[in-house]
Amino acid sequence: MKQKTIYDELKAKGYTRREFLKFCGIMAAMMGLHRSGVAQIAEALETKPRIHVIWEHFQECTCCSESFIRASHPLVGKILLELISLDYDDTLMAASGFVAEAGKDAAIKENYGKYILCVEGAIPVGSYGYCTCAGRSALETFKHEAEGAAAIIAWGNCASSGCIQAAHPNPTSAKPVHKIISGKPIVNVQGCPPIADVMAGVIVYYTTFGRLPELDNMGRPKMFYRNRIHDTCYRRAFYDAGLFVQSFDDENAKKGYCLYYMGCKGPNTFNSCGVMRWNDCISYPIQSGHPCIGCAEPGYFDQEPFYRHIPSVHGIGIEATADKIGAAAAVAALAGVSIHAVVTNIQKRQLIKNEEEFPVKKDEVDGN
């Protein structure tokens, strides 16, 4: 029997062709594809069966799942529930206990080598008992499930780089996905949590093209993590003009000037907040007056204090003065500020730094 395609299913559910193409259009725009991308997505959805997804929770706070169910466009939300076959997700599924586990085992067996493993949370390796589910450690469970996965989506900062539990002194020896296994395609969907529409975009990309999107050398999809928040921030003009908030709620804060001096990590943080914004484009931290705390960067909790501004790059064109910033970095290092926070002020250097810190094997990031 011919397997039903996603489009077949959507049709059967009563979606019109027009709604279907509209969805493809939204997704293409979200992923920054060329116009021809719409046709590509439409074609893929018309011809490919649903992918099976197993969604695991380890050391986490469930903010990624909470974010996921806030995907902004209603059509996106609806189709997402139907686009994938979510075979196991202990936050949402009806079954509990033995029945839940039996369902998962069956799904793994039936779709061995084909399913996507979504991981929410870090994995503690300090002791068997730090995180168990059904009497089994997170580490054992994860390794078992990763084995049969076609690819792994590491949701959020926990699975991508350890997040809160991995912050100093990392009491449970929490590790992100890519530090535990290799030889599998892994995508790090950064953020604490990631933006809902970014999560949706990654899944649609995979269903469309049958592989992970192009990743940067930290394993993040370039289409969402190409730019620093600073590069796309609507307050950037104030930065360039030298107009800064000096204290919360001062006259400049009321005018929405740049939050650089309040400790904004926008210049160090690669994410789409400035473009996609949050919860249906309502706002993002800077727009609501709070500096970015850099939650999409590895180790951001160890880069506090959050309200100390990153070393002086006041009123200068960033790329033009790379040398000056390099010098500032040395001074800052003496002052006890992490080099990472400083050097990354420049995109190019960020990439170099990343490569040093997170050497990612080609077969880990390559979709095939």
Partner: protein, 602 residues
């Protein structure tokens, strides 16, 4: 004969919960509640800048996101003696009311509903009948316009969509159609009411996205919005598009109105209609008899509990005519025990410690390979056991309703009386016999679920009241949002302590902070699910989860059957467990002492 039952994972909750139970003569006679995950957030916040701690502890939980952030800035401000501007108090109330409305709704529909609503039965329901029932459910509060979307066509459409969804992949889908015990006698709703529940499950999934937009406006994002010690970061400027202005406030007001309508016209009526078909569950799952609520939603300075809209106190022995005081500072009042947890104390494992002088040393003594049974004869959880003057307490929406009822809060009394009367009337009618539902029926699994929907209506009222107060204060010319007088660490005392008591969606939440030399010397959280989900104390007293599960009738169900699991999780879900919140630990000296004689994996 005794049989052992394990439910692990307990799904549709936040985090990792395991429940072991012993069944004898068709009833659960003993139960062991285990938090199976630990992270160590209190250790991690040690030596950090106190102004940053809100961001760390907010990551305790992404479901009741924002709650620990709020509790943290309050505790730090208490330690540093900072009073935040009135506008900031109101915005924080609005954030809190938004959270409670959102959280309760998601709990009732996305997490809890499938315990009572039979998805498979809904697929064969008559949409016209579902529409008729939806329209006949009398609104609890006549001042709101109906929610709409209750036509037969609407229900038929939902039914069609879900049918296709389920048919495509009957074995593996969210509803686990082929594996779960749909159609079991445990599911007692008529098909049309099942369809009503299913339709509103999907509607709620859409609507919850709207609710959190309020947090996004004031906090920049959701989950995990931003807080600020000394006020809020969102400046007010009626003359500027880059600040909180009239356009933003109007948007907030619109959503608040929708929240009120949903809570009054959809959530509470659904809850009453569904529970009315399960009258026996008003006699199951009562558990403890003491209830604690810290109160919240200040109408003035947070430090003055007198101005709270939701009241503080303790109800003992379910006596709603009497309210006792809670003392947060007495060292032998609030205490945490670790006798059955994987920690140890320098003062001995059987002693309790007040959070301000507490200590925790990781001491995992559990199994080091895959296990079937933990049992209760040795430590069995990562959750500590809080007690007040040695007494176990239930916290959460039911405790809030009980405490506010005893405190003679007009809103609570009116809502609770009305809801109970309506439930009684529905139950008698639907079951064709008197079911004897009274105010005391609140102390049960069904009652706890009803209390949450009452609490959601209350939260939406406090939300609206706080919003109106904010508007009138801005009108009077006050646009201040931040008190920066103690922002600089040089203005702080060398050593100070503070605490905050707040009401999270799941109940009483305490944060205790000790600041020394401008850094966090010690930080501790006593969290709602720590109260409810903890193991037994040195006196052998159960906490709420265990106490409530004991007595559940499970005759005829195999130990690994879905029916057995369902009977247990119905009561557990009535608490809306949040395990990530419940488990955390800290060490006074910041050192983690591993006493684990095991082959540490990798």
């Amino acid at each position: 004969m005794e049989i052992r039952v394990v439910v692990d994972p307990v799904t549709r909750i936040e985090g990792h919960l395991r429940m072991e139970a012993i069944v004898k003569d068709g009833r659960i006679t003993d139960a062991f509640s285990t938090g199976t995950m630990v992270r160590g957030i209190e250790i991690i916040v040690k030596d950090r800048d106190p102004r940053d701690v809100w961001a760390f502890v907010m990551r305790v939980c992404g479901v009741c996101t924002s709650m620990h952030g709020l509790a943290s800035v309050r505790a730090i401000e208490n330690a540093l003696d900072i009073h935040v501007p009135y506008n900031a108090e109101m915005v924080r109330n609005i954030m809190l009311g938004t959270l409670q409305s959102h959280d309760h709704l998601v709990h009732f529909y996305q997490l809890g509903a499938l315990d009572w609503v039979d998805i498979v039965s809904a697929l064969s329901a008559d949409p016209a009948e579902a529409s008729r029932i939806a329209q006949s459910l009398s609104p609890v509060n006549a001042k709101y316009t109906p929610w709409g979307e209750n036509s037969p066509g609407y229900f038929a459409d939902i039914q069609k969509r879900v049918k296709k969804f389920v048919e495509h992949n009957p074995t593996n889908n969210l509803f686990s159609t082929n594996r779960w015990c749909w159609g079991s006698k445990l599911y007692q709703l008529p098909p049309a009411v099942n369809l009503l529940g299913l339709a509103h499950y999907i509607q709620a999934l859409e609507f919850q996205k709207e609710i959190c937009k309020i947090q996004t406006i004031f906090g920049g994002k959701n989950p995990h919005p931003n807080y600020l010690v000394g006020g809020m970061a969102c400046a007010i400027n009626m003359q500027d598009p880059n600040a909180i202005n009239m356009a933003r406030l109007n948007f907030v007001q619109e959503i608040i109105e929708k929240i009120q309508i949903f809570a009054n016209e959809v959530y509470l009526p659904d809850c009453l209609a569904i529970l009315a078909f399960y009258p026996q569950w008003t006699h199951i799952g009562g558990g403890l008899t003491n209830y604690l609520s810290y109160g919240d939603f200040p109408l003035g300075h947070y430090g003055d509990p007198e101005c709270y809209q939701s009241k503080r106190g303790i109800v003992k022995n379910r006596d709603l005519s009497h309210l006792e005081e809670f003392d947060p500072v007495s060292l032998d009042g609030l205490q945490e025990f670790v006798n059955n947890s994987w920690y140890k104390y320098s003062v001995g494992k059987d002693k309790g410690l007040h959070p301000s002088i507490g200590e925790t040393i990781l001491d995992y003594t559990g199994p080091n390979e895959q296990f079937e049974w933990l049992g209760g004869d040795k430590p069995y959880s990562w959750i500590k056991t809080p007690r007040y003057k040695g007494m176990p307490m239930e916290v959460g929406p039911l405790a809030r309703v009980a405490v506010n009822y005893a405190a003679k809060n007009d809103l609570t009394m009116e809502l609770a009386n009305k809801a109970v009367a309506t439930l009684s009337q529905y139950a008698d009618k639907f079951n064709g016999k008197p079911c004897g539902i009274t105010l005391d029926s609140l102390f049960s699994t069904a009652g706890r679920i009803l209390a949450r929907s009452i609490d959601a209506v209350e939260a939406s009222e406090y939300l609206a009241i706080s919003f109106n107060k904010l508007i009138s204060n801005i009108k009077s010319g006050d646009e201040s949002m931040f008190n920066g007088s103690k922002w600089e660490p040089d203005s702080w005392p060398k050593d100070c302590k503070g605490y905050s008591l707040s009401e999270a969606p799941r109940g009483a939440l305490a944060h205790y902070a000790h600041i020394s030399n401008k850094k966090i010397a010690n930080y501790q959280m006593v969290v709602p699910t720590t109260w409810n989900g903890s193991p037994r104390d040195p006196m052998g007293q159960h906490s709420a989860f265990e106490a409530s599960v004991i007595g559940t009738p499970v005759a005829g169900f195999a130990p690994d059957s879905p029916e057995m699991a369902l009977s247990i999780i119905r009561t557990l879900h009535s608490f809306d467990p949040c395990m990530a919140c419940a488990v955390h630990l800290y060490d006074e000296n910041g050192t983690v002492i591993h006493k684990i004689d095991i082959n540490t994996p990798q």
